[in-house]
């Protein structure tokens, strides 16, 4: 990393996440980081990105960072402002392309645990549970998992609790369980790199390393083996313009300040 880092990890992750969102498509966002990534994409390469909030805001021009998904900013200059039932139904009907997810732990198939660490009846830690995430992970065509702390504790062989479905037990498992065919985790972004999922095995595959990160560091920070293709790219650093917009979206650094 250069001597005086122009950006922090959250800004790098936000630019990487925004870059995945194509213009003219739709994305399900929750509070915090996903909103920032969606707004950055909307104000740079994807002005036609349809941002959808779980409480009912559909296609807003978000003026300033909302403090909750029900915040009236989530439908400022929007196309529609309906309800949670309407938006969740749209996701089930297949209208939503991307969805953001986070989690305490993830396995090689992109399944996520946000419910308990340890035994369900006597947990070491009780986590918030799925919230809208299970709807996102079940119904969005391509979900993007953002995890700031990739390590042996967060990239695990076996989850203590499977809260949100990734590819479940592997190829075809989503479809057998009744989830939409062809849907599932698309990318994973951590503090070390950006990952995809191998088409055949549905296992986590490294796509690009963040600046200054090595393949060894990536393998070291995971209980399971991450597939390493011959060609691995380098994540582009945030540009000045992206940083300027990020700091305009979140002037108080509520999200990008962390």
């Amino acid at each position: 990393m250069n001597a005086t880092p122009r950006y922090n990890l959250t800004e790098l992750l936000a630019c990487a996440a925004a870059g995945l969102l194509e213009d003219g498509r739709s994305v399900f966002v929750g509070t915090g980081f996903p909103i920032v990534a969606g707004m950055l994409a909307q104000r740079t390469h994807a002005p036609g990105l349809l941002i959808i909030f779980e409480a009912g805001g559909i296609g807003p021009r978000v003026p300033v960072l909302p403090i909750s998904v029900g915040d009236s900013r989530t439908y400022y200059k929007a196309s529609a402002a309906s309800s949670m039932h309407d938006v969740m139904s749209a996701a089930q009907a297949g209208y939503v392309d991307y969805g953001f997810l986070g989690g305490a732990a993830m396995d090689r198939f992109g399944n996520i645990n946000t419910t308990v660490i340890g035994d369900w009846k006597h947990p070491k830690a009780r986590l918030p549970g799925s919230g809208g995430a299970s709807d996102v992970g079940s119904n969005c065509w391509q979900t993007i998992v953002v995890m700031r702390k990739q390590s042996k504790q967060t990239f695990v062989n076996k989850l203590d609790f499977l809260t949100t479905p990734g590819y479940l037990s592997g190829p075809g498992a989503r479809e057998r369980a009744g989830l939409p065919a062809g849907s599932g985790p698309y990318r994973v972004i951590t503090q070390l790199g950006i990952y995809g999922f191998d088409d055949e095995s549905k296992c986590l595959t490294l796509l690009s390393l963040h600046p200054g990160v090595t393949v060894e560091q990536v393998q070291e920070a995971s209980e399971f083996e991450i597939l390493i293709p011959a060609e691995v790219g380098t994540t582009p650093e945030p540009q000045e313009e992206q940083l300027r917009i990020l700091r305009q979206i979140d002037p108080q650094g509520l999200v990008i300040g962390k």
Binding site: A55, G56, G57, P63, V64, I67, G70, D71, S72, T74, Y75, Y76, A81, S82, S83, M84, H85, M88, Q92, N111, T115, W120, G129, S130, S134, D135, S138, N139, F161, L162, T163, T164, P165, L168, A173, R174, A177, G178, L179, P180, Q248, I249, P251
Partner: protein
């Protein structure tokens, strides 16, 4: 029926069931309905019969009003029934669902009332701070809930008309803390 949570522990540990969809043959999850004894929420306008109109997103008020056995509405303003008759399509909660209506202007404080006033982030920050401890929580309720004779006294305590006007400005993005991008 929902096509959500299939294959997860979230569903396994829930009271949901998985059945084969008789039409598509695919598995689908069935979730039991919920019947809260009482639902209570704040609406923009309501006539004396209980016909309530809300501006902005409904979030889950539409379903909640219909699921609860008893429904109590507080409202910014009780309006004439004639006003409802002029625009009946705006009524999202019809009278037959409603058991009680109470007019409580500024009644959503410290949360926002879409199109009317924004979150009182200062007060919410205070609550988040003091409610970190049981004592702090008890003190908060003593000071702002049980320790005030009525809602008007509560409003005076949190900043009264001056605070209300400020939060209207913030809602309309005419204030620095909510500045237009």
């Amino acid at each position: 029926p929902v096509r959500t949570m299939l294959g997860t522990d979230t569903l396994k540990y829930s009271s949901g069931k998985v059945v084969e969809d008789p039409w598509s043959g695919k598995p689908i999850a069935l979730l039991p309905a919920c019947y809260p004894d009482v639902a209570l929420f704040h609406v923009h306008r309501c006539d004396m019969y209980g016909n309530a109109q809300l501006d902005g997103i409904l979030i889950e008020d539409f379903e909640l009003a219909r699921a609860a056995r008893r429904l109590i509405l507080t409202t910014e303003k009780i309006i004439d029934h004639a006003e409802v008759e002029n625009q009946p399509w705006r009524t999202s909660i019809p009278f037959y669902l409603v058991d009680a209506v109470i007019e409580v202007p500024f009644g959503a404080h410290p949360t926002e009332m879409p199109t009317q006033y924004y979150f009182d982030e200062e007060h919410i920050a205070h609550w988040l701070e003091v409610s970190k401890t049981p004592e702090g929580t008890v003190n908060y309720f003593e000071e702002y809930v049980f320790g005030v004779p009525d809602y008007t006294a509560y409003l005076e305590k949190i900043g009264g008309q001056k605070k209300w006007d400020h939060l209207k400005q913030v809602m309309d993005l005419k204030d620095d803390s909510g500045g237009e991008a």
